[in-house]
């Protein structure tokens, strides 16, 4: 199959979408990758995948995003996908307080199953439901600060800040990786002290643990 323009990228980041069932993870993903929103989208069973490339700091970053099912029962299956992820969007619904309160549990999930350097962004979704709001922006912001997460409110329905959320986390990851590679002054293919692995050159591969998926992607790129 011929290489399409969107296969040209500098960095490849694996991101996971996590959070309670019904907070809008799948719609955030479809809004970001296909600019679509579906009020009656089916529940996610297991995991679903989508991808999109964005440009930041003059680099093309390809995001491979794994959308996970929110129900507790699927945790055993979905947590397997945390491995190798360099970013996580922890999504809650601003109109459902319990989904915000459960953020703690999701953070624990990440601590237990994801790589320790994973970049996490707390996302308060459904910001269009102003009249039903039960978690204030300040509260979300404050919680994110205490946990060292970045924070944003989005609405997959009216598309506000969705693009920004993804671009910001991808940029954060990129800068982190870039900074680390500068600090360590390591050569291509090296492993930094932080556990982030990077390879210089176009088709660069970034992972904070399991390299299998990412190195394959870069190989595909090379092979065209």
């Amino acid at each position: 199959m011929a290489v399409r323009p969107d296969d040209e990228y500098d960095y490849l980041f694996k991101i996971v979408l996590i959070g309670d069932s019904g907070v809008g993870k799948s719609n955030l993903l479809s809004r970001f990758t296909r600019n679509e929103f579906n009020l009656e989208s089916k529940s996610t069973i297991g995991v679903e995948f989508a991808t999109r490339s964005v440009q930041t700091d003059g680099k093309v970053i390809k995001a491979q995003i794994w959308d996970t099912a929110g129900q507790e029962r699927y945790r055993a299956i979905t947590s397997a996908y945390y491995r190798g992820a360099v970013g996580a969007l922890l999504v809650y619904d601003i109109s459902k307080r319990s989904s915000f309160e459960n953020a703690e549990r999701w953070l624990k999930e990440l601590r237990d199953h994801a790589d320790q350097n994973i970049v996490i962004m707390l996302v308060g979704n459904k910001s269009d439901l102003k009249h039903l709001r039960s978690v204030s922006i300040e509260e979300g912001q404050q919680y994110a600060e205490t946990k060292g997460l970045s924070f944003i409110e989005t609405s997959a329905l009216d598309a506000s800040h969705v693009e920004e959320a993804f671009v910001r986390i991808l940029t954060d990851i990129y800068r982190l990786v870039h900074k680390r590679s500068l600090t360590t002054g390591d050569s291509a293919g090296g492993k930094s002290a932080s556990g982030i692995v990077y390879q210089a050159g176009r088709g660069e591969t970034i992972s904070v643990g399991n390299l299998s998926h990412e190195s394959r992607s870069s190989k595909r790129k090379c092979c065209g």
Partner: protein, 449 residues
Amino acid sequence: MEPGATETTWWSLRALRFPASACLGYLVPQFSEWEAQQGGLSTDGPTSHALHYLFEAGIERPGAAALNLSGSRTSRGDAAETKDPASPRDKASGTVPEITASIGSDKAETTLWTQLEAIREASRNRSVGLLTSLAPVDRSALQRLAWRGLPDTLRAMAWKMLLDYCPMQPSRLLKSVGRKREQYWQAVADLGLVSGPRLDGRLSSEDWVRKRQIDLDVPRTAPECPLFHTSAIQDTMTRILHLWSVRHPASGYVQGLNDILVPLVYVFYADHAPEQFQLDRTLVPEQAEPLLRDAEADAYWCLCALLDALQDQYVFAQPGIQRRVQYLERLMQRIDAPLCAHLAEQNVAFMQFAFRWMNCLLVREFPLPVTLRLWDAYLSERGTFAAFHVYVCAALLVRFSAELQQRQFPELVLFLQNLPTRDWTEQDISLLLSQAYLWKAVFADARRL
């Protein structure tokens, strides 16, 4: 057999993309041995006899053989015969295996239809006298009929019988089903679910979690069918799912059970009020609702029966799904090694796409009418359908093997997540079932899988 039938069979199989020589030639030891004795591989030699044997059992008259292989009630030990590698030899040497004798004729089929129609009418009119006068249904014949696809008008009755909810003996039908319906509504009342899906105040935190999840999932079930947006259907789904999960605490409610409930609710509702239950209807008239009390109870009990064999798919860590996905992978290694190699090379794990196929029994992958046809066959295999389902998944992969092998990650995963099956017809499913049946006939006893 007519002259030329063997060749026709061969080409039909090729048309099904059945890599027959690979499969029968070296993947199955007993066929290899048999073939060696018969003079080796060729398209018009003994292989095609073996193929024809399978073809006859699996495609032209799949019901009989399906029945035999599933080890269900068989009159003459046909099951052993089908699995016995000696059978093709009998066939090749001119001995017609007994299996062909057990195949139902069109006449028998028509008789069964008439019989089911009569039972359906009599039970609707609650005519005890008439029901008593009707002969019991022959389960094997019903299984054969279902395997080939049931007519819409008889589907509800046939499914209820195949799931052992309705007795085969018409005289017992009203009493047995009546008792079950009463039990359902009593249980619903005991749970405080009776006035719609709203629960009363006796809820534990576990109940709340379950309620929240069901309330969240029911409105987003089958969004492509307006009928499932009506409050009548949504209330029904909610009550059934609640009761099922309360009574099956090891699993509780798991997302995807709502999808599995869709075919049952639709078939039983449509049976009671076909006019009101077209899939594109956006309103269920109030006067139709009382009719639906029976349909709802029927759907609940049939869900229980259906899920009996699948409990292990929904308990903690979902071991049943993991096992079936692994089996699918091993099976595919034997059936389509190049595809497996491609998936592995692209780092696509079976779990990434087959999880949903197992969890929702492929309901998400096909339009509802097509799913009904698929389930006719599943229910005809009642006891073993969970295993058969894996072969259907294998056939689905083989069907798209060429397209899959042309794609690389990530397009490959996207394709698998959204198979181009939206416009599939019953004929597509029939072909898929036939091929799945062939794989099952070939591999069911392969110990090394």
